[in-house]
Amino acid sequence: MKRILNLKINGKNYEILSSDNRTLLEVLREDLNLTGTKWGCDTGECGACVVLIDGIPQLSCLTLAVFCEGKEITTVEGIPEKEMEEIEKILTEEGAVQCGFCTPGMVIMMKYLKDCGFNNSLDIKEELSGNFCRCTGYKKILDACIKILNKHAK
């Protein structure tokens, strides 16, 4: 069954004709060409597809698009420019990007952690351990994340 979905993505309202069984990831990539969100497994195991739904990181490959009506969705393309500039600068300087396939998911997580506000009880490794990276050995990703969070320590 297809019907019209009303989705708010990156501050923009979309009307999308879609069947009920489609995931948010499919709608983002296939219908809206928002291909920054990556497809790594489709089973909730890799974190490449993480987006923010009402500010909370969610796996878009496991989220049905219909459940996102009335919610605010933020993908990597929708991170406000000022914040993105800072994230881009730090990740680039730290050398936290190699093939880049895990990067949008990592960026979303970093934005989330930053929004939560850094405090010492936060276990960054734990928070990021659902995001796989096969290239970097994680060190530079962790360094970059710590640097971003330190800038926003509350």
Binding site: T35, C46, T75, V97, K125, R134
Partner: protein
């Protein structure tokens, strides 16, 4: 010499050129391309490890609305393979299947859903055959023939038997001889991006977007498999989301998407599901290794390796992997007399092939653990044993490999001092330990896969009156940072910023050939070609500017987008004006650079595997803590020093080393392709195929040793693969130091540790090799002392 100069970009700047677009999600990977009217393809795979295909009925699938084309093996009958010597694959199985997951039918339809549903309506009748799933079975079950046509018995695919010098006599001269047996389990690449392809045939020409590491080989093989002339094929490689060797073969989905598009006359996309990537595989071969070393007065006198490879169902790069089992040991250590015997078997599992380190991690693991035992037997320090036997810079090995710069001694000193190895070795409390190992690797294979005299890398540079400088290259960016290397080299040469260069990349219609991202070749080969091209442009600009400024060409400096008189900094021309002037003078400004390695030195059969323009060297110390209650091994810290020649981008070099450490620890501790008795892969998912997460990673101290290799661009050598090699044996040696148990088999999973402790075992690992009769070795006389002087 390039290396004495003060650089502005090379080794100084940190930023990767491709990072911003990847961070912002703009960077396009193959699956990110959607075309109007695009169809989706799916593959139906074999549920049997070995079976005759009795019949295939696709009629019901074809009736489904939205299905546009269905193909079987009969539609693609021509055999192909990445190596000219093993043309044993077809995209879809014909007559029989050889592993669980082998593609048999391909379908394309209007949507993925329809294609998927249509697969269920394909009826295939199989007759199961007996199968072989291990080295032992392949050898013993002689009635099973994975490939009927193979000339060797017992499913042997390739047999190698080589002897440099006279090992029999040499072993007799030794005052100490030791033999050991090791087993290295197979593992897989697991790139984050799954394989993806979009193919479009417009009636005459075929355009293929693919996540692939070597577009020019793909070009060649697609032409063969599809019977289209190469000039009618265009390949575009977008960013690749990780490769590690897993995207080098001409994979079935690429051939199938192309064929389906030729029939349906529409673009066809196939993106593999995560599980399917495990069937594409071409990952690390499981290898059983026997090694015997003889020493005289603490120096290696003779060495003998026997290796048995579990190759999976097809050839892939297997012959090269087999040769690499023996090729690089003499690059690390002086081995006067050396014998190498290797056999690769076909088995009914997904094909093995090249994974980071190619065929060298298995013998490296064996050798470095073996040397640790030798040092203990002889009661000498394991570091001293290494130091006493290292090869010299600018020397030639017994198997005719020419070593140029060699910073291994410095690497060793660095990690030993920094880790305080000598204070810890055999002195830490029970459960804690340190281990040490070293290695060497190639900076690009000196021979291409398809032999010939054409360059391995070509780069074109173009400048015009607009001021735009464009660089055209066919190398692939799989995450290793070669786009950055390319732009840094050109930027340094022309005195501009890397971001100012327009890169035109990876479209076989537009750019000149580059053999691809494998064998750690790109910095060396593409880098040299880029340097040559940029220097030609620089010379043309110098000539033009010297007229304007009335200054000799030698007195011009290229700096900050200007060309400046050395004598009078007030006198300068902007690069844009200089380009305009040169264009007026010479016409179109387009220059090319090419790179081809020097001819190899060895003349024997097999001499083609191992030679490289230069070798990288690595030394590593690993410290571990073993929880004897749970059997869990925790790597605490890794110290690793790598002779890179010269860093082009330091952050990137460190990143390659850290990524190698991560992958190596995974292979040592948990990564394993695990099959059931029926030949089913037990763990084809991120969840079940265990790897280290961020939480599991130890602290890593990286030391970059610069030896300024004159063959490399600005002195650079490789870093993408070499640093993986010593980490695995260093970890095993550390575990021994911690709990006194030798693990001669990896991965060292907690259950193995617990069992060993409970049963009070001193060693875990295979205790016998198979009784394979190798043919008499090809005898090769090692080079004489003065060989290099006579030769070069």
């Amino acid at each position: 010499m390039q290396n004495n100069k003060k650089f502005k970009t090379v080794g100084i700047k940190k930023e990767r050129i491709d990072a911003p677009s990847k961070i912002r999600g703009f960077a396009k990977y193959t699956d990110d391309f959607y075309f109007p009217d695009m169809l989706y393809g799916k593959l139906k795979r074999s549920p049997y490890a070995h079976a005759i295909i009795e019949s295939i009925d696709c009629s019901k699938a074809l009736e489904i609305e939205g299905v546009r084309a269905v193909i079987t093996g009969k539609d693609l009958p021509i055999k192909y393979g990445i190596l000219p010597v093993t043309q044993d694959e077809t995209a879809l199985a014909i007559d029989k299947v050889r592993y669980v997951g082998e593609p048999v039918v391909a379908i394309c339809a209007d949507t993925e859903e329809i294609a998927e549903k249509a697969l269920d309506f394909v009826e295939i009748k199989y007759k199961e055959l007996d199968k072989v799933l291990s080295i032992e079975e392949a050898f013993e079950k002689k009635h099973v023939r994975v490939h009927e046509s193979e000339k060797f018995e017992g499913n042997a695919h390739r047999v190698i038997s080589l002897e440099f010098g006279d090992t029999e006599t040499a072993f007799k001269e030794c005052d100490y001889v030791r033999e050991d047996i090791f087993f290295y389990s197979g593992s897989t690449h697991l790139s984050m991006e799954t394989h993806s392809v979009v193919a479009y045939f417009d009636g005459k020409r075929l355009t293929v977007y693919a996540s692939h590491q070597a577009p020019y080989y793909l070009h060649l093989i697609l032409s063969k498999a599809l019977e289209i002339e190469q000039r009618n094929i265009k390949i575009i490689i977008p960013y690749v989301g990780g490769g590690f060797g897993g995207k080098l073969d001409p994979f079935p989905e690429i051939v199938c998407a192309s064929k389906l598009s030729m029939i349906a006359k529409k673009p066809v996309k196939i993106t593999l599901e995560r599980e399917e990537v495990f069937y594409n595989h071409r990952g690390r071969h499981p290898v059983l290794t026997w090694v015997k070393t003889g020493l005289k007065n603490g120096k290696i006198r003779a060495m003998h390796f026997k290796s048995f490879l579990d190759g999976g169902a097809y050839g892939s790069f297997g012959v090269a992997c087999a040769y690499y089992q023996g090729a690089l040991q003499p690059v690390t250590y002086k081995i006067p007399d050396y014998k190498v015997q290797t056999v690769r078997f076909y088995t009914n599992k997904p094909p093995c092939g090249p994974k980071r380190g190619h065929g060298t991690p298995q013998p490296r693991f064996a050798l470095e653990c073996h040397l640790d035992k030798i040092a203990e037997d002889l009661n000498i320090d394991p570091v001293d044993l290494r130091l006493k036997n290292l090869t010299e810079p600018y020397s030639v090995t017994c198997n005719y490999l020419k070593i140029t710069t060699n910073g291994l001694k410095e690497c060793i000193e660095k990690v030993i001092n920094e880790s305080k190895f000598k204070e810890k070795f055999r002195k830490l409390p029970y459960g804690e330990g340190v281990g040490f190992a070293v290695s060497s690797y190639l900076s690009g294979a000196a021979l291409p896969i398809y032999w010939g005299e054409t360059p391995h890398s070509e780069v074109i540079i173009k400048a015009d009156r607009s001021g735009v400088i464009s660089v055209y290259s066919g190398h692939t960016e799989i995450g290793q940072g070669s786009d950055t290397v390319l732009s840094y080299i050109v930027a340094e040469t022309l005195g501009i910023e890397p971001e100012e260069i327009a890169l035109v990349l990876r479209d076989t219609d537009s750019v000149p050939p580059d053999l691809g991202s494998y064998s750690s070749r790109v910095t060396m080969m593409m880098g040299n070609a880029a340097y040559e091209a940029a220097m030609k442009l620089k010379r043309a600009l110098s000539e033009a500017v010297s007229e304007i400024l009335e200054e000799s060409e030698e007195n011009l400096i290229f700096k900050e987008g200007k060309i400046i008189s050395k004598n009078n900094p007030e006198k300068f021309v902007s690069l844009k004006d200089a380009i305009k002037k040169a264009e007026e003078k010479f016409g179109a400004l387009s220059f090319s650079g090419s790179y081809k390695p020097a001819p190899i030195l060895g003349k024997y059969k097999g001499a083609g595997v191992g030679p490289s323009p230069a070798y990288s060297f690595t030394a590593c110390v690993v410290q571990v803590k073993v929880d004897t209650e749970s059997g869990f091994i925790k790597p605490i810290k890794v110290w690793i020093a790598h002779d890179i020649g010269k860093c082009i981008n330091r952050k990137n070099v460190e990143g390659q080393i850290e990524g190698s450490v991560y992958m190596a620890l995974g292979e040592a501790l948990m990564e394993k392709s695990d099959y059931t008795k029926e030949g089913f892969l037990k763990n084809p998912s991120f969840l079940d195929y265990k790897t280290l997460s961020m939480k599991d990673m130890p602290e890593i101290d990286v030391y970059v040793i610069e030896t300024y290799e004159e063959k490399g661009p600005f002195g650079a050598k490789e870093v993408g693969q070499g640093p993986l090699l010593p980490v695995i044996p260093a970890l095993c040696n550390a575990v021994y130091d911690a709990i006194g148990i030798r693990f001669d088999e990896i991965p060292i999973t907690p259950d193995k540790v617990l069992e060993a402790i409970e049963r009070d075992k001193k060693r875990v690992g295979p205790d016998k090799i198979i009784d394979f009769k190798f043919p008499e070795p090809i005898k090769v006389e090692p080079p004489k002392e003065d060989f290099l002087q006579n030769k070069l």
